[in-house]
Amino acid sequence: MLSFIARRVLIAIPTLWAIITVCFFLMRLAPGGPFDGDAPVPPEILANLRAAYNLDKPVMVQYVDYMANLARGDFGPSFKYKDFTVNELIAQGFPVSAQNGLSALILAIIIGIPCGILAALRQNSVADYTVMGFSMTGIVVPGFVMAPVLILIFSIGLKDTPFQLPAGTWEGGAFKHRILPVFCLSLLYIAYLARITRASMIEALRQNYVRTARAKGLPFHQVVVRHALKTAMIPVVTFLGPGIAFLLTGSMVIETIFQLPGIGRYFVQGALNRDYTLVMGVTILSASLIITMNIIVDVMYGILDPRVRHD
């Protein structure tokens, strides 16, 4: 197991390096720079700006500098948010994104998995069709449609009623201000979890070991929880791994719509402002999280399913 983890980490390092390198050179290849504003900047000032941000040296030198700083955990200064380093911006934004992401994840697990199990146990019943109908809707309707529609209902339609929910404000993360964004974030995950759990649960219930457990005279609920659920969770874990990474690094759409100060919104703002260092910082953070989660998923396989051996 340990050697398996070590091997995966060893593969992850060049992957991450390749991502960073491609990102870096793409940014330098681009026509136009971050200082191309609406008004032309005098050449002397531009030269000073370029020198201040280390952009006047040859690209290879810049690359080596950037990698050296990165190795020390320094993402460099932000091009557009003057006086801020990318580290500071990420330190501000990441907790917001991570908190919302975690809440959405917990909500998705609490709702999605039981719904999926219910649908699997009552296959082709009204409950099954209802769950699958909602799940299909959750998967097909994108967040940027769902969120405005929910705002239209809960913030505008229910205005001046006790059920009105605020949107577009954050207020330091007060509970009421989190309800809509967290719900919108979790919808897609609820939908997928219900669908995946249902499919793998139906499959697991057909297995011989489940029949054996039933034949031994174990109560049905115990067979479901102890025997079927454990293997049925494997596809769920596969989906959740990268899913967690995406949730933690913030949804660009949800954070933009609800104006949450998370890193998803920083990424979009950075991209619109050509704030290259910020965009790179968020990309590298997300990529590392996704790669880490993928490794954890592979380790989890071995724990959940003894047939999977890592050697």
């Binding site: 992957t15 793409l26 940014m27 405005p148 239209l152 719509i257 050509r274 968020v282 990309t283 990529a287």
Partner: protein, 303 residues
């Protein structure tokens, strides 16, 4: 029931065979697809939406970018003014804009899927058919690409090289081919040891011609299913980018951009949000149902 007795070609049997229409695999699939109510309705809706987006705008009294100078604010739907669904806050005809936006979204969806199809099918077929080192290298590359957060790269590309239409579908196509390559490779692996491939090789067919004439036509069924499921995904990515302001630029428009504009003015004119959102959602649902229907029709053993 319609099997023809080949071993004893009695004259009567031959005459009977002439009357019986043979049914190809594709005809069988079509029959199964038409029997699937959800898929059939979806197909009809998609055709109607497609025709409306591509043909109807030329028959409307207003174009998508034309400003009605007499009515420079959001107007309610009216038959007299020719704004059948009203106008947006700038006095532009909503129906014309939604249909034109659909034209752009559908075009990006189809073109990007076509790019994904070209790359995915060639990589998958070559990797599966040649096997060995080539297969190893190509599939390791696909595995690597899977671990990369590709949406970020599309955004970076769009930001760096200008938001234009061609780059957009090329970039999206370049990230959507991975699954296609895996599926086609898997199919090719099962096909390549079949007798007809051996026969083609014995007849002196080159590797290229075997892939092009025998492998690819035989994986078409799976590919068509996957294409139907890729188009809505691409439409989603395109709309997502345009919604964030990172996709299509004014004066062009797409469903994502219209939804974003509609969301900004939904307090006063909710239909500016609901019309494009509704039409896009309908289209996405239909593509998904059609894809599921095609899968059932073309791959009966999967049911």
């Amino acid at each position: 029931m319609t099997s023809i007795n080949l071993t004893s070609p009695q004259p009567e049997a031959l005459n009977a065979a002439e009357d019986v229409q043979g049914r190809s695999l594709w005809q069988d699939a079509l029959r199964r697809l038409l029997a699937n109510r959800a898929a059939l309705v979806s197909l009809i809706i998609l055709v109607v939406v497609g025709l409306a987006c591509f043909i109807a705008p030329s028959f409307l009294p207003w174009t998508y970018e034309q400003i009605d100078w007499d009515r420079m604010e959001a107007n309610p739907p009216s038959l007299e003014t020719g704004h059948y669904l009203g106008t947006d806050t700038l006095g532009r005809d909503l129906l014309a804009r939604v249909l034109f936006g659909g034209q752009i979204s559908l075009t990006v969806g189809i073109l990007a899927t076509f790019v994904a199809l070209l790359i995915g099918v060639s990589v998958g077929a070559v990797a599966g058919f040649l096997g060995g080192r080539v297969d190893q290298a190509l599939m390791r590359f696909v595995d690597f690409m899977y671990t990369v957060p590709l949406t970020f790269f599309v955004i970076i590309l769009m930001v760096l090289f200008g938001r234009n239409f061609i780059l957009m579908f090329l970039a999206i196509g370049c990230i959507e081919w991975l699954t296609m390559a895996r599926i086609v490779r898997g199919q090719t692996l099962t096909l390549k040891n079949k007798e007809f491939i051996e026969a083609a090789r014995a007849a002196g067919g080159s590797t290229f011609s075997i892939i092009a004439r025998h492998i690819i036509p035989n994986v078409l069924g799976v590919v068509i299913v996957y294409v139907t499921l890729t188009i809505p995904q691409v439409i989603l990515i395109e709309s997502f980018l345009s919604f964030l302001g990172l996709g299509i630029q004014e004066p062009m428009t797409s469903w994502g951009m219209l939804i974003s504009e509609g969301a900004a003015e939904m307090e006063t004119t909710p239909r500016a949000l609901l019309v494009p959102a509704g039409l896009m959602t309908l289209t996405l649902f239909c593509f998904n149902f059609l894809g599921d229907g095609l899968r059932d029709a073309l791959d009966p053993k999967d049911r």
